[in-house]
């Protein structure tokens, strides 16, 4: 407890002192637009790009999970596909990706003649090696579940097999994938780094030497092993099989997670970093300072913040009750009051970063606070004034202010007795999954690969409840236990649809059903991201789908 307090004090101090310091910089007012994403200057090779991240869990693709690990792994490895900032997929090492009629088998044609940075060939066998290695039992990989549709995954996971039954390489440039669970959008998954190819030298996932210095086939390679909690240095891979990078080096400093955004911003101000996040309190000043210089980025990213009502138990069992809650919340007031406009109101579950699937306003109750409608729906649902409503959230994540605001609004509009419960993150995640959970929880989600299905399926499909038969706790990510057979059927129909436009339409129907009609989740705010970037020095510097700088394209001005 004392530590948490200390950290909070540090944050307060940081804010105060920096605010004072920043004033002396002379903050000019004025809006910050987005710098032009691409300026077509002739790319000049060379230069060292510097940025800070927090210590990743892993940079070896078998267990890469968070944005920081992905930043490193995606520059060290190139897989079958890549995804642009709008969630559009394109071929990377794949030359074609073709499903059979019922999407139970996928054939990937791979570009021939490319190599790993140690000279070994990147062929179909390299992909099979990488996927098998990640799915193996001793890997205990946190991300191997993305491979779960492939035939033979279960046997690898429980250790009864050592080869991946569903994978075959008829020749060096053909990879055939047999799926146990049919999926017409399987190719989207291959964007995830767990689908990376690895050279024979990688060995098993438990190979510590490779974990710290992976040899890959990406635009960059490691200069030396990962210096834990200190730095990771990448250098250009001159034998890269696709368009080569321009930067000579990328120096990644590893920062303390408690105040990384603070350190990144200070580093940027001191000219030590070329790309940085900022503490929330610093955003207005940073925008005023760097916006006019075109060094400011602000966008709604792949992710969503929402309330997760418990739908099988307690006061929010009926959809009317959940809608009443949603109508009673004044999102606009919280956006301007708490977030100073640096987050936006959400009216969907699938974020605007999914350009084609995004359907603004699909959550009708999210668009505008409507006290009368809220009261009427609450009366209908028996959500009478004085009803106890549990509201769980995790402390230490900067959620306190808006959680308080939401609770106050529910109290004012509906007269509910909102019981706020701020607890540590892991405890929250455990509590919301118990069979006795009730009320609602603060939650957020981001997609691993660019399909609306990666929001809808893990969060809302009946299969994602995956109740443990012994303890009756939820083992999946659908902790609210929303279950609607019609919704499940739509998701199944979507993954069985080959035509992308048609599939997107089905996903939209599904989102309308679960969010618009059933209010299975209550969207609140977008996942908004802000960065300052040294665009004075670097050309083609922008952000990617994973919120990281596009290092492979950056060049000196």
């Amino acid at each position: 407890m004392r530590l948490t307090k200390a950290m909070r004090w540090t944050a307060v101090a940081a804010t105060t002192v920096l605010a004072v310091a920043a004033c002396s910089n002379g903050g000019s007012s004025g809006g910050g637009g987005k710098p032009a994403a691409s300026n077509n200057a002739p790319a000049k090779d060379g230069g060292t790009f510097r940025l800070g991240i927090v210590e990743p869990t892993a940079i070896d693709p078998y267990n890469v999970q968070e944005s920081e690990g992905t930043l490193v792994a995606q520059n060290l490895f190139t897989g079958l596909t890549s995804v642009d900032v709008n969630g559009k997929i394109s071929n990377a090492l794949a030359e074609s990706r073709t499903p059979n009629d019922d999407c139970s088998q996928w054939t990937f044609k791979i570009k021939g003649g490319t190599t790993f940075s140690n000279g070994e060939a990147v062929d179909a066998a390299a992909f099979i090696r990488g996927w098998t290695r990640a799915a193996a039992k001793d890997a205990a990989s946190d991300v191997a579940y993305h491979l779960n549709e492939i035939d033979g995954f279960k046997a690898l996971q429980d250790g009864t097999a050592t080869t991946f039954k569903g994978l075959a390489a008829p020749d060096a440039t053909t990879l055939v994938v047999n799926l146990a669970i049919k999926d017409c959008e399987f190719d989207l998954r291959t964007f995830h780094t767990v689908f990376s190819p690895v050279p024979p030298e990688a060995g098993a996932a438990t190979n510590k030497a490779y974990n710290d210095q992976p040899i890959g086939n990406g635009p960059f390679k490691m200069e030396g092993p990962w210096q834990h909690n200190s730095k990771i240095t990448l250098v250009r891979n001159d034998s890269y099989g696709l368009t080569k990078a321009h930067l000579d080096r990328v120096e990644i400093s590893i920062l303390n997670s408690a105040n990384a955004d603070q350190l990144e911003y200070q580093g940027f101000q001191a000219g030590q970093f070329d790309w940085a996040r900022m503490p929330t309190e610093q955003l207005p000043v940073a925008k005023a300072t760097y916006g006019p210089k075109n060094e400011w980025y602000d966008w709604d990213a792949n992710g969503m913040n929402y309330l997760m009502p418990v739908t099988f138990n307690g006061p929010l069992k009926s959809k009317e009750a959940r809608q009443a809650i949603s109508y009673a919340i004044d999102r606009d007031a919280i956006v301007s009051g708490v977030f100073k406009g640096f987050r936006h109101k959400a009216t969907t579950l699938v974020p605007s970063a999914f350009k084609d699937a995004f359907q603004d306003g699909v959550c009708a109750s999210c668009v505008k606070q409507d006290k009368d409608k809220a009261k009427q729906l609450a009366a209908q649902a028996g959500l009478t004034p004085g009803t106890k409503l549990y509201f769980g959230y995790n402390t230490g994540g900067g959620h306190d202010a808006w959680v308080q605001a939401v609770a106050q609004q529910l109290k004012d509009v509906l007269g509910l007795d909102v019981q706020i419960d701020g607890i540590p993150f892991k405890e929250l995640l455990k509590k919301e999954k118990t069979p006795t959970s009730t009320g609602m929880y603060r939650a957020a989600w981001g997609a691993d690969y660019p399909t609306p299905g990666n929001f809808l399926s893990p969060l809302l499909a009946t299969a994602s409840i995956n109740e443990d038969p012994a303890t009756h706790t939820v083992q999946g990510d659908n902790a609210g236990r929303y279950s609607n057979p019609a919704f499940d059927a739509l998701l199944q129909k979507a993954t069985a649809t080959k035509d992308l436009a048609e599939r997107t339409r089905i996903y939209q129907q599904a989102e309308k059903m679960a969010i618009g009609d059933d209010q299975a989740l209550i969207p609140l705010f977008t996942r908004s991201q802000q960065r300052v970037a040294n665009t004075e020095k670097w050309a083609n510097l922008t952000y990617d789908f994973n919120e990281n700088p596009t290092l492979a394209n950056v060049s000196q001005k």
């Binding site: 310091a21 408690a258 350190l263 001191a270």
Partner: protein
């Protein structure tokens, strides 16, 4: 002396065992499964992976069995493996201990030299301008929180003047200066006040008057009689202070991104990365007990009237 040392070391083992047991019990009654979700993420772990990790870390066994296994491994020099990166705890904490020690030693040297020096001078020139200024400054400094000093220094010297990088490199000796001063400055103020106080008292003592009356040169009086007797409380204070510094200075390490064990501890607590928490805490207890012993031994050296038995 030898028997005394042996007894103290024996007590130390008992203290360590007790401390780790209490820690263990505390950590494992915290609700929430430490390996139930991905590090810092909302995502649940695959149940198969959770089960495997439970086995791997012995989390499926009763608490007392886990503790037994831990102690047994610890005796053999194995501190286990952490939950997120799955690397050996000793390998993770090793370089951090070195960094924390560098910072602690630099800070304590600053403490002792500046603090005791300034305090002694103030006592000798009592009620002079120097004494007044020292009293004033130390009074203000004692009331300052560490983070204010740290943030001010970082902003001035790294962000504005750019004399040192914001993101430091603990292997560069120049860069230890700012965090060490941050860490030491408040302590040094305390040491100065302590030194001034005790020294004034000693200066009034009969044996000092006698020595002066006997015609012993002033230099000798000061060094042999006054100094030696004034530093005893200061040594106690610095010894205890050094112990807590070696346990990791969370705030200073955080502000300067100094990769020490204080920072490791705060991150590990947030992630419920229990092997790291237990490892750091055990180290903290061990070093504290050890330094207390060193301080007691120093007493005997400084003051022959104190007998160790």
């Amino acid at each position: 002396m030898g028997r005394y040392l042996l007894r103290r070391l024996g007590q130390m083992i008992v203290v360590l065992l007790g401390a780790t047991l209490i820690l263990f019990a505390c950590l494992f009654v915290i609700p929430g499964d430490p390996v139930g979700s991905l590090a810092g993420s909302e995502r649940s772990r695959d149940p198969a992976v959770v089960e495997q990790l439970h086995k791997r870390y012995g989390l499926d066994k009763p608490l007392i069995v886990q503790y037994g296994t831990y102690v047994n491994k610890l005796v053999h020099g194995d501190m286990g493996e952490d939950y997120t990166q799955r690397r050996p705890v000793a390998e993770i904490l090793g370089p951090k201990l070195v960094n924390t020690s560098k910072l602690a030693i630099a800070a304590i040297v600053f403490d002792a030299v500046i603090g005791a020096g300034v305090g002694a001078l103030a006592a000798l020139k009592r009620y002079s301008l120097w004494d007044t200024v020292v009293t004033l400054i130390t009074t203000i400094l004692v009331g300052f929180p560490t983070f204010v000093i740290g943030m001010l220094m970082l902003n001035l010297f790294a962000v504005q003047l750019k004399w040192v990088p914001v993101i430091g490199d603990p292997s560069d000796p120049v860069q230890v200066v700012l965090p060490a001063i941050t860490l030491a400055i408040i302590d040094a103020a305390l040491v100065a006040r302590l030194m001034r106080g005790t020294m004034l008292e000693v200066l009034r003592a009969d044996y000092v008057k006698t020595a002066i009356a006997k015609g012993v040169p002033r230099r000798q009086v000061l060094l042999k009689h006054v100094m030696r007797n004034s530093v005893i409380p200061v040594v106690t204070y610095i010894g205890i202070s050094f112990g807590s510094l070696l346990g990791g200075a969370i705030i200073t390490e955080t502000i300067f991104n100094w990769d020490g064990i204080g920072m490791a501890m705060s991150t590990a607590i947030q992630q419920q990365n229990n092997p790291i928490v237990v490892g750091v805490a055990t180290w903290g207890v061990a070093i504290f007990v050890l330094l207390n012993l060193v301080v007691d031994l120093l007493y005997a050296m400084l003051d022959p009237r104190i007998r160790l038995s």
